[in-house]
Amino acid sequence: MLDIATGYNKYKFLGNEFLTWIWYLIENKINIKELINSDYKTITLEIGNSLVLENSPGGKTKEKISIKGDEAGLEEGKTALKKGGVVTSISLLLNIDTEEFKFLIKGESINISGFKTPSFKPENNEEIEGAIIEKAFFTEKIYTLIDALFNKFIEKRSSDTFKDKDFHKIKKWILS
């Protein structure tokens, strides 16, 4: 195994490619439940109120494109993709069966922030323990789903047919 700092820097591009792929899945209405073969009844993903892309037109300097706001259009982001940009962070609305989660995920670290779970306010000690377990359960649920999606992405990315299949579909979407 590589030294942690080396591994982080050398392969952070995979995290950004992963988020770009997630945007592709959302825009093209790919069935997430079927894709990761999940036991949940429904899984839906939508883009939330933040999308950040990075582009290095000359290879050296980096250009950052931030799209923020509830009603923001994503055309500028699509233009950045057409110029070779990648998604570096994306805010997501995730619905698993009847539960809704919101969070922002960063490509290079897969850290999440602004993680909102279905609300529950405990009123006594017993309820506090229940609320802790529930929050823990939600946290693991989110990361289990992120892991399943990431594994699917790298499985595709490492497959012999990637260039002929998925790569072309994503390219077609980007250039459309």
């Binding site: 982080y8 506090i128 929050k135 823990a136 946290t139 990361y143 892991d147 594994n151 790298i154």
Partner: protein, 204 residues
């Protein structure tokens, strides 16, 4: 209890290894041994250690639980003294004036000024209280999953150091490379393919 009421930021770890004997004993010993000192260190700039989830200001792991269902939950508390630079500047200036007045001289050497700066910093450090920062640690021991409820790099580094010292188990931060190593089911051949790739260019 920010953990329950507000939005959270999370960084994630894979915990390498397991305890050889009793999980609860090992955990309690590690938490107690590296709990945050109850009495503030007068001269230290930073102090860090574990504190109970239910009461982060009373580091008593006999009184407060760290086990909730199948999860362990406790706090990492980092107390930091932060002296505003303008305050340092003011006190240095006062001290220099005092020294000049007492000695009847019109200037001080570079070494004397440095000595005054150290003295001022020591004095201010002693009187300024620490500001506590609290980050929850949620650990699913069986699954080797751990969530640290912050994404601040400095807190991550303190956590990694104290965790290893406390439990003799290595926390490996999870990001794309370590997720492939520790969480994926890719074969060595598939990993080699991935590791030899460079970033995709959809424009070619």
């Amino acid at each position: 209890m920010a953990f329950l009421s507000s939005t959270s930021s999370i960084s994630r770890y894979y915990i390498e290894g397991k305890f050889d004997d009793s999980i609860m004993d090992n955990l309690q010993t590690g938490l107690k041994k590296h709990s945050i000192p109850e009495i503030e260190n007068e001269f230290g700039e930073v102090s860090a250690g574990w504190a109970p989830f239910e009461n982060p200001y009373k580091p008593d792991f006999n009184k407060y639980s760290f086990s909730f269902g199948t999860y362990f939950l406790f706090n990492l508390r980092i107390d930091k003294k932060s002296i505003p630079s303008k305050l340092i500047k003011k006190h240095i200036s006062i001290e220099i004036d005092k020294r000049l007045e007492n000695s009847g001289r019109s200037f001080l050497s570079k070494n004397e000024k440095l000595e005054i700066k150290d003295l001022v910093l020591d004095n201010l450090m002693r009187i300024i209280p620490s500001v506590p920062n609290i980050y929850e640690v949620l650990w699913n021991y069986e699954e080797s999953n751990l969530f640290l409820f912050t994404t601040q790099k400095a807190a991550n580094e303190v956590f990694e150091t104290i965790f290893l010292k406390s439990f003799n188990l290595k926390p490996i931060r999870l990001f794309p490379y370590t997720m492939i190593e520790k969480k994926s089911k890719l074969s060595d051949q598939q990993k080699d393919i991935i590791y030899n790739q460079s970033s995709l260019n959809y424009l070619k």
